[in-house]
């Protein structure tokens, strides 16, 4: 999967780096810099799967050590579902590695407040991160003007569909709510589950759906106003979005029935999607990393997948809108004895466009560095669908057509509220209005405490 550079590509890439970012600093940073402080750098990673971990070891870890003689990088892969708890326990005990991941800026905020992360501003200048990384993403790692976390795993929510099934049935990806509902009715009538869905393996994954309905029904402007405290989450525009999501679940469109939505595990629902028992799947861009396991020969079927942007579900919502998400951040432990080495590796991992593009091509969506990519930046080996998604996201973001994922732009307790209490709406133990009222209360408390991550205005 990894394709070596041709001489022409090398010259083009080299020229871009030299022109775009200043000669000395960028060349140093791009090469790993040889600027690591030496000694050992320990890191915990949430990278999952043997292929991804193997790629990381071979193409990131070892080349970094080679480029930085005397620096030993010691990476421990931790289970993604457990890593935040492990980090929390380790930091609480005054331990933990030099480089620490979190599940997103909202979580990083808690560690920053507890003074557990090192300030990285001197490295912003040294490695020119302000020039290299997307400004909005870098701002999410800042607290009171100081940088503590580098965001990566840029992600968004998408509508995946079983392309083979759609072709056989003469269907097309829906472009608005009427088409979406018409399609769901038709598929349901034919015994095909409209959307493969389930939270049996990870109940917190239910948060994808409020995120989708708030972005594509309420719209990014309404969300911006709620997130910036101008309007409360208890407004009708937020409540109606939850009503709509609930009605889809009650109709059995997600996972086949409400009960199955609660109990379906990821492997089972993805297998149904690949086999054509379910036609669509609303999931984040990360699904691209594992889609090959459920489609084609490897999965024992002859089906193929594709994706489309989630359609607007109300007038006034942009046709092509992507909810922005940051799946992970990395920071340096405030107790690290090798902050220079840790920062050097963070730059090596995140800020080099060529290296990041190769990584993103080899392991789709597992990494996704927040760099300003263009179509030509990606190697030819990259899956066309992955490339299209990255470029579309970049173009739509440039036009200001972006929304907000709750795991990125909501503060931690509000995020947990969204994840846990929505189940009560689906079982009828709570009304959508009560749910949104509760969220408004939790959000307001955290807003007063200054825990809401920095938000960018849609269209900006």
């Amino acid at each position: 999967m990894h394709r070596p550079l041709s001489r022409r590509q090398f010259l083009v890439q080299g020229g871009k780096v030299a022109l775009g970012a200043g000669i000395a600093g960028s060349v140093l940073a791009g090469c790993g810099g040889g600027s690591a402080g030496g000694g050992a750098v320990t890191m915990w990673s949430n990278l999952e799967g043997a292929e991804a971990q193997g790629y990381f070891t071979k193409n990131i870890e070892r080349p970094f050590e080679k480029a930085n003689k005397g620096t030993k990088l010691d990476v421990t892969f931790q289970p993604p579902a457990e890593i935040d708890r492990l980090v929390r326990t380790a930091l609480q005990g005054g331990e933990g590695p030099d480089i620490i991941p979190t599940p997103g800026p909202a979580y990083a905020g808690e560690y920053i407040d507890a003074n557990l992360f090192a300030e990285l501003d001197e490295y912003v200048n040294q490695y020119k991160w302000d020039d290299k990384l997307l400004g909005w993403a870098l701002d999410l790692g800042r607290s009171e003007g100081k940088l503590y976390a580098i965001p990566y795993q840029l992600q968004t929510m998408l509508l995946y569909f079983n392309a083979t099934l759609f072709e056989e049935m003469g269907l097309q990806a829906p472009r608005d709510r009427d088409e979406l509902e018409g399609l769901a009715e038709e598929l349901n009538g034919q015994g095909i589950v409209p959307f493969a869905a389930g939270i049996g393996d990870e109940p917190a994954a239910v948060e994808w759906f409020p995120t989708v309905f708030w972005n594509h029904f309420s719209g990014p402007q309404a969300l911006y106003e709620a997130l910036s405290g101008e309007t409360p989450f208890s407004d009708a525009v937020s409540v109606d979005a939850i009503e709509l999501f609930n009605s889809y679940v009650q109709k059995g469109w997600f996972g086949g029935s409400r009960e199955k939505f609660f109990s379906n595990g990821f492997d089972a629902l993805h297998a149904d999607f690949g086999d054509g028992k379910a036609a669509m799947n609303i999931e984040g861009s990360w699904f691209m990393a594992s889609a090959a396991d459920f489609f084609g020969q490897k999965a024992g079927n002859e089906n193929d997948w594709d994706w489309a942007p989630l359609p607007p579900m109300e007038s006034g919502v942009p046709q092509e809108l992507y909810a922005l998400g940051i799946g992970s951040t990395i920071s340096v432990n405030a107790r690290s004895e090798n902050t220079d080495g840790a920062a050097s590796f963070i730059d090596y991992l995140v800020a080099d466009k060529k290296r990041a593009a190769d990584y993103m091509a080899a392991i789709p969506s597992a990494f996704n560095s927040p760099l300003p990519f263009e179509n030509g930046d990606f190697p030819g080996s990259m899956d066309e669908r992955v490339r299209r998604q990255l470029v579309s996201l970049s173009q739509a973001t440039d036009k200001g057509n972006f929304g907000y994922t709750n795991w990125t732009f909501w503060p931690p307790k509000s995020t947990v509220y969204i994840q846990e209490e929505i189940q009560k709406v689906l079982t009828g133990a709570m009304t959508p209005a009560e749910y949104c009222e509760g969220l408004a209360g939790a959000f307001s408390e955290e807003r007063k405490e200054g825990l809401v991550p920095k938000i960018i205005k849609p269209g900006a």
Binding site: R88, D113, A114, S257, E259, F261, F262, Q423, T427
Partner: protein, 315 residues
């Protein structure tokens, strides 16, 4: 040994002051040796039990998030427990769990042990078979039953292929009504074999002549069971009841693995709620108060047993 006896004898004689003091020195030496032997274990206990326990008591009076400094909030966490609907719902599930485990596995264990005690051939095979689920990791057991009870691929759909459709499509772990009993079923599957072995061991110590006497008196199997077996294994029965009650109050693993307390809290117990409070909602102080509350309830149950034993109950 000889010296010791001589020392003791001397110490009891009048005018044996020197010898008496050397006896005390010896006792002190023995005491010191004993403490030295116990010291490593004591240190481990202080480090891993007493230390965290004291810290938990302290944090239960604070608003600690699990990170950074903690602010003293007095009894706030404890008063919050009383108005926390999630807690009372979870405690109710603990009580229901207790009722299930005081009846189903104990009933099955007694019945299984009684039946096993009646056979001699293949008894060991059955004992091993019953015991296997107990030694399997809870994650493995849970995954096994998640597959067996899968609404689309599990036993329900297999039975439907044979013309028995009533379990087809039933989502045991996704239904608010079925989730808690379904997880209890899985936990019971792993637990009851252990109970059988405990009761079987106890049954083997019951005097066979008592059964013979009962038969001569005209007792049938059921009367033998009630009037000979149960009194004969009372100590084991009480022990099983005690660990069942405490285990039910502290239950966590199967529920966390299979449903994580869902759907919508339908299988939430205090253990899973506590975990969520500490690691999900970042309310470690409140979680500490919940933990101490449950320890308090467990402590009362143990004290009741001790009290009854002191009052002469043969338990």
């Amino acid at each position: 040994m000889e010296v010791n006896e001589q020392t003791v004898r001397s110490a009891t004689r009048p005018g044996g002051g020197v010898k008496r003091s050397s006896g005390r020195a010896l006792r002190r030496k023995r005491l010191l040796s004993a403490w030295l032997f116990m010291l490593p274990l004591l240190l481990v206990n202080v480090l891993v039990i007493l230390g965290p326990s004291v810290a938990t008591v302290y944090y239960s009076f604070t608003d600690w998030s699990g990170l950074g400094p903690a602010e003293w909030v007095g009894l706030q966490n404890y008063t919050d427990i009383f108005s926390d609907g999630d807690f009372w719902g979870a405690l109710g599930h603990n009580l229901l769990w207790t009722v299930i485990f005081l009846t189903v596995p104990i009933g099955m264990g007694l019945g299984g042990a009684f039946l096993l005690s009646q056979i001699t051939r293949f008894q060991m095979i059955f004992r091993v078979l019953y015991f296997i689920p107990y030694v399997m990791a809870s994650v493995v057991n849970a995954a096994l039953w998640q597959n067996i009870l899968d609404p689309d691929r599990g036993v329900g759909s297999v039975l439907a292929n044979f013309g028995i459709p009533w379990l087809d499509g039933v989502s045991f772990f996704g239904s608010e009504r079925l989730a808690l009993p379904a997880v209890a079923f899985v936990d019971n599957w792993h637990w009851w074999g252990f109970v059988v072995l405990l009761f079987l061991t106890a049954l083997q110590s019951v005097d066979k002549e008592l059964y013979e006497a009962a038969r001569i008196d005209g007792a049938n199997r059921w009367q033998q069971f009630v009037n000979v077996t149960i009194p004969g294994i009372r100590a084991t029965l009480v022990f099983v009841v005690l660990i069942t009650i405490i285990g039910s109050l502290l239950v966590f693993d199967y529920i966390y693995i299979i449903t994580q307390g869902g759907p919508a809290g339908a299988s939430e117990v205090v253990g899973t709620l506590m975990y969520k409070e500490a690691f999900g909602r970042f309310e470690a102080g409140y979680a500490a108060a919940l933990g101490l509350g449950m320890s308090f309830i467990s402590g009362i149950i143990v004290l009741v047993f001790i009290y009854l034993r002191r009052r002469g109950w043969e338990i």
